[in-house]
Assembly symmetry: none
Homo-oligomer: 209 residues x 4
């Protein structure tokens, strides 16, 4: 006799997860501005006011997406990277593998983090920048650890930026290119980065003539 076919009463946590899931998808596909709250609500299977009741506003919703996915990515990487006793190249390899795997398994989240969040100004850029800084810092730590005193501090950060940038670029390329696995992408980057860094450590630098 009762209830329509519509959404049933679910605990708040579940509903929120549905909404953020839907939002990540919409934001990834259409971008922050083009994604409409109507579409997100519909995709989540709830009415618009409920989205506002739980998530506050479009800005807060986007922020929630970024935070959740950034934490998940960081967590996935951190879980794989070993303890400090493990040699730096192995730790880098583990981190890269975890990173590429996450990007491959959550393409929408990766688009949100790598593109949408960084393209739409504050407060979103800052939100994702925090996560990226953590990764850059971690990579810089590994580089410093491997290079000892050979490389200047300023250079260490620049190298970390380059490495992280190439990882981002490869991840997007791998997601868009059929037949490229996360492991292959990680291996390519590891060769690119470590063989190069390996030379740097021996002070065999390339220099313009």
């Amino acid at each position: 006799m009762a209830g329509g076919a519509k959404a049933r009463r679910l605990p708040r946590v579940v509903r929120e997860r549905q909404m953020v899931d839907a939002a990540v998808r919409c934001f990834a596909r259409h971008g922050y501005q083009a994604a409409s709250m109507d579409e997100i609500a519909e995709l989540a299977g709830v009415s618009k006011p409920l989205v506002y009741l739980y998530l506050g506003s479009k800005e807060e919703l986007f922020t929630a997406c970024i935070r959740r996915e950034a934490a998940a990515l960081l967590g996935a990487v951190a879980a794989e990277v070993g303890e400090a006793e493990v040699p730096p190249d192995e730790r880098l390899w583990a981190g890269l593998l975890a990173f590429f795997t996450y990007a491959a398994e959550h393409p929408d989240a990766w688009v949100v983090l790598s593109r949408q969040a960084r393209t739409h100004g504050e407060p979103f850029a800052g939100e994702v920048a925090r996560m990226r800084d953590e990764i850059v810092g971690f990579v810089a730590g590994l580089i410093g650890e491997a290079a000892g005193m050979v490389i200047a501090g300023r250079d260490v950060e620049a190298l970390a930026q380059a490495l992280v940038g190439s990882a981002e670029s490869l991840a997007s390329w791998a997601n868009e290119t059929p037949g490229v696995t996360a492991k292959e992408a990680a291996a390519t980057l590891m060769n690119f980065a470590w063989a190069g860094l390996g030379n740097l450590m021996k002070s065999e630098r390339w220099s313009p003539r």
Copy 2:
């Protein structure tokens, strides 16, 4: 006698340049969607209908920005890269230097090309993808030239993607970080890339244990 309130009655070509200049700036600062035609027109010092008369629509205007800046960047790089007789590392160095210089001197254009154009779907993504593919192809050519038969074709493209990605990342980082010159950024990347590639050429690969 001092500057007129409104420079009026200029030839079409001049006005169009002013408009695209203003548009690049607005699109870089606010993004494609958030930038309003009102603001662009005001910044260009003309009325909105004139923008539509000359540039057609917001979409066409954005495309015009992308095309103009992509051509300028490509042209700047191509002008510095030497002939085929020059050794590949020198050509890469020349190209990187030209690239970082352009990005540093036209920060708004760089934001439009590297971020905004790639974040707002078709037809913009395709437009800038064409330019990027040319650069990736050029870099892949250099890598192939330097590596001979040592590296497989598939790997060559992946390496080129990684190198271009790290260049993009470094360029944005250099633009945002005070005190980093284009030459420094290019040198860092050259070390990162060439010393690494140098090892690859000797088949001294890193591999997971």
Copy 3:
């Protein structure tokens, strides 16, 4: 206690009727293009977005007006025209009377149907053409019934076109001319059409019984 400032929170069906009412009036008075959605919304006592939410677009709104009024007019005529056993002149008389009565009681709707809808191209013209064709067909049927085999098929349609055209013309004229009732207009047309001017000269008038 007196009328509320804004009758709020009405069920959708009621609001839609109010909006179409307002639209018919605006379209009749200013024409399709000159009528503004702002004015229609204001006259309906709602905000513009609600009009779009319920009716879709200006084009759809105009189409809704045409459909509603065409159906109402057709329905009013069909309800008065008797069964097939009734002689054709009496059925024509009943139909004409219903037609002129509707036009007189709904002058705005009549303007929309007879003028605006037919003047602003597709898809509006086609929409009202369907209704008119039904009426022309009905009249042609009566003429054929009355004339037997005496009149050729092609002529029957031409005569029906002429009769319907004169009815339209008279309806508009009656609406604009003070003191002309629907019944008088219908009687004039019945004389004109049925008895014929040739008979009128001999004072052989047709008259409703």
Copy 4:
């Protein structure tokens, strides 16, 4: 060195005719509002400011179209209608034939007069109403002449309205229906109006001598 391929200096009268020709066509095809001054100028082969210089404004231009075509139609009819000594049925026949012929040979003008001008309010409706009143008056004169004292004055005008209305309707129908000539349409109307449906049933048709 010399003049571009553009419009050559022509005397004002010629240019004005070109412009009004173009305007009649545009107004007929798109309606008063939808027709743009840009399109009219382009179709006339001149620049927009010249249209304004010669014709004043869109409203004046539309009025000029209406006036010119109304005068032409009236003139064509008046030229064919004989003198007062000719019997009324023959004069009506001559007038109808001239009218249908003009409508068939100038379909755009006919659309402007019969539809566009009457649909877009003052001052256009009044402009064309004057012409129509002249025709109605002429027809009413013929009816009165034929009917003598038998028909009351009020009825005479109503009958004239009906006759003119059916003529308008038939003219549009004939223009839209392939294979219907002006002469056939005039004959049908003459039968309808003069002999009357009652007589048609007895096969007592009126026919041109």
